[in-house]
Subunit: 365 residues, 2 copies
């Protein structure tokens, strides 16, 4: 995990009052843009990233060198067409890719670490709204997000209803379930059980809580995939061997894959950020923010909504999207909904899927 | 985790040749019995326990003091009626409640720890068959098991077909799936990432890998429950507080519950045993043992089979039981199958369920 990589940085001009009541001063937002903003600022599309995502939407990741996480979807002539739209993707606050988070230096000159205020999804969106204000964008052509990105899109629509004309929410939910919280708690406990975590004050130490963070990532990664997808991809096949070795190496391909996912993740992500962002997701419950009734969160909205779910997604299953659709219907909003068939579970929103491309293109253009 | 508690102990008279090719000498089996063996030894019922279970089936656990794990099911006048049947429950080899496992002392006077041979489900059953031999039980009236207990019951039926007249398999599977392996691998990595694990040689040290073992248990525990069951039991309710605390304590009830499950587990279970038993389950694939076709594993069997699944069990879903039923049908075996409705996921086999009681009573009597 390196320090903040090169990216555009927006300094939030005013202190940000958070849901906790704490105030974040001098916050920064790392972001990338693609395409050109129209003179009347009417062509902006904000894409919100998922838990471990970042602003490198359609350009190479500065640490891994890999292509942007949605290169397939965003670019000239692509479903979100940068010949027509000005596309913005910003690192959420609390993360570690250039936006203010636990790894950032606090006013006293030391990293915030666990002194960073606990944030919510709505706080992340507060940062994004400040960025839009700074860019002179009063109303987005569209806000788009999958998974935690979808939470941000919904939070923007519920709390700043005038800021987006179109809201596209993919493989997401209106509130984190007990099972969602449980999986996140396992990940947090894995990190905090790692002695190298050192109460979060590991930035000046030689060792980082990589073991704990890798275990957290492995547990989470299973929830991103479907049972059928794992069976198709790995089954019970052995890794680089003909017969069982009767030991504790990664004998099965699925073990080797998970270990690779875990260790790779530690090179690009900060363990404290993982704690803060999972916590924000656990607190997320849009209905609760609006008196307990989800429809009330969207009362009077003029935005058009599109919800997309995947039939094998068991992390945020179709029922969660349908719940949102019912609330939007009750609120009298314009909403379309499609459940797509895909074998790969929750991760399907990041993988090639022609039907998803068509849905995104049709809704955003 | 204490040393082996008081229990009946059977010394396996002959060396046990394991699937790995290694030989276990001087193996012991901790076991409990309930009821009286008939003079012709025709009334024996073997109940096989799950991953973290033990022989304390219908009598208090010596460490926790809690009632036996299936007290409801086994006893005078209960579905498995000890007025009629002689019920045996034995700790599997590799475990830590009196049967030989990593915590046991090897011939050189030190604990086996990770020098214990890697075992399989079939190896566990080899130990059980030796116990039955020692008791003079040629043919069981029935073998019964849930989850990993069901794996042992199926393995007995497939590999020692003359040893059981009735085979009752609850919430189980004929092979561990990629997703099953993946969850186990997360648990193992959590244990092995704990510095207190010390390569498995922690028995003489002050600290045990309790943090890693607790994380492993937490991750596994989520898979034992259903999403709906977690929502019903905990939802998003906060623990001992009126409002969100914006911190990293166990704020949600589900977090508190999971932490309790994790820490409680470390008081009664050995981390190395957890590694060995999960590994045995991962290797489990009855078809693979019999040339790749599951029906061949049961060719010519004269036993009656009963398969039970639960509709909310996503660890070993109904499709796994149905797969076994199809194979038994193809093998011409007598088989009945029922999917029961229960809100609590995989754990349902351990929880009160009148229909399950009736199925067990009807099949075993």
């Amino acid at each position: 995990m390196n320090a903040a990589p090169l990216s555009k940085v927006f300094c939030i001009p005013a202190p940000l009052t958070l849901d906790s009541g704490q105030v974040l001063e001098g916050g920064e937002i790392g972001y990338e843009t693609y395409g050109t903003l129209a003179a009347d600022a009417s062509n902006a599309v904000l894409v919100c990233h998922a838990l471990t995502g970042d602003q490198y939407l359609a350009s190479p990741h500065p640490i891994t060198g890999k292509p942007g996480w949605w290169e397939r979807m965003v670019g000239p002539g692509k479903p979100i067409d940068t010949n027509r739209h000005f596309v913005i993707c910003a690192n959420v606050i609390g993360s570690c890719m250039g936006s203010t988070g636990p790894v950032s230096i606090a006013p006293d000159g030391a990293p915030y670490a666990m002194r960073f205020p606990v944030i919510t999804i709505r706080d992340m969106v507060r940062g994004l709204v400040a960025l839009l204000d700074g860019m002179g964008i009063a109303r987005l052509h569209a806000v788009v997000g999958g998974s935690m990105g979808g939470m941000q899109a919904l939070s923007l629509a519920a709390n700043w209803p005038e800021r987006a004309a179109r809201v596209l929410v993919i493989a997401s939910t209106a509130r984190h379930s007990a099972q969602n919280i449980a999986f996140h708690e396992v990940g947090r406990q894995a990190i905090m059980a790692d002695p190298a975590w050192a109460g979060g004050d590991y930035y000046a130490l030689d060792a980082k809580p990589d073991n704990g963070l890798a275990v957290a990532r492995m547990a989470a990664h299973i929830t991103y995939l479907s049972e059928a997808g794992l069976t198709e991809k790995f089954g019970r096949r052995l890794q680089d061997r003909e017969a069982k070795g009767f030991g504790f190496d990664a004998e099965f391909q699925v073990e080797s894959y998970l270990r690779y996912q875990g260790s790779g993740f530690t090179r690009r992500f900060d363990a404290n950020s993982y704690l803060y962002i999972t916590r924000a997701m656990d607190y997320y419950d849009i209905a609760e923010e609006h008196g307990g009734k989800l429809a009330d969160a969207f009362a009077g909205t003029s935005a058009r909504f599109c919800l997309v779910s995947f039939d094998t997604d068991w992390l945020y299953p179709t029922a969660e999207s349908r719940h949102i659709v019912h609330a939007l219907n009750a609120a009298g909003a314009k909403v379309s909904f499609v459940e797509l068939s895909a074998p790969h579970g929750h991760d399907s929103f990041l993988l090639p899927h022609d039907q998803l491309d068509r849905v995104v293109k049709g809704f955003v253009e």
